[in-house]
Symmetry: C6
């Protein structure tokens, strides 16, 4: 089964979760090693600017998911 | 109840508030610990570049919300 | 009265001013203290990269305002 | 006369020039002092990352101008 | 054969792979030397902020690919 | 002859090349001196984060070019 079968979700909140998944997958595809990513987590999860940038990436992906769902209008 | 029942708002100002909420939720979903986020607040809230970047993320999310509302035309 | 009654403006130049206002409001909503923001101003207003990033945020917001106005065609 | 009477241009190249003007105006509106901006120029004009970011802002504004002109199709 | 014959893919997951390829090609076209890129990999692959930014670029390219595919609706 | 006669290309690959040209032109218009740009090249071409950001700018411009070409559908 695909990790991304569809961009379509029932609700905006589910769409936000897809945006988070896309953001994490962008990291995972670049650094596939689970142990390394876990080790790095303490770096960004305790740094204000890193968290803002993480939110930035989610925002970009949420644009895509929201458009895909015609903004759940 | 969902934290994001809809992207539709009555006014542009309410839409901007949704954009702020989305930006903060992007941080919260990455760092769920309230105490850590509170501690980090003094870092970004007193740094000019951090505040500009926070505004950047809000701007990206506001694009999404504004499009969802057909720009409140 | 709302600080953002509408995204619609008569001219592109007025739309750019709305984009600037949105960018500043993104900062103000994150750091509401006027004295802190004033103190930080000397940081970003005298730093080339900070000014470029400020222009970046304005550009993102101007995309939104320009689309709202159908690009004043 | 407005510094931005219209986003419409005859050619893509002229549109790129408008994007540059918008990017510079975003800086100027944030730091209106000409002497300060001139002094800062040596900082970003001799730094690779600063130039890349300047190009980034132009790219965002060019998206707006290109859409306004229906991509000069 | 072109390295980018089309933006059209059968599935969202394949579209994400195209977005990754576009992101890497943007690096490769800027630094064509394979040995240099390999050497630099340890820098960004072990740095949290670098990985977030890599995910950011993928997100921007995924917007393009998703729009091209009409979001696989 | 204009350096940008059109955003329209026959193929996606050619469109990516236009995106690269736009990204470089954004730098060149900001720093017109060829010798300075050549000197700075060793800075960004050997830095992982700089290359990622270069790819980011290309991605933004590729969005524009791809939209202009209706995604070569």
């Amino acid at each position: 089964m695909s990790w991304l079968p569809s961009l379509i979700t029932e609700t905006p909140e589910q769409g936000f979760d897809v945006a988070i998944m896309l953001s994490r997958m962008g990291v995972k595809k670049t650094q596939p090693d689970d142990a390394t990513r876990s080790r790095l987590r303490q770096d960004y999860a305790n740094n204000a600017d890193s968290l803002t940038e993480a939110s930035h990436v989610i925002a970009v992906n949420f644009q895509t998911v929201a458009a895909a769902n015609n903004y759940w209008r």
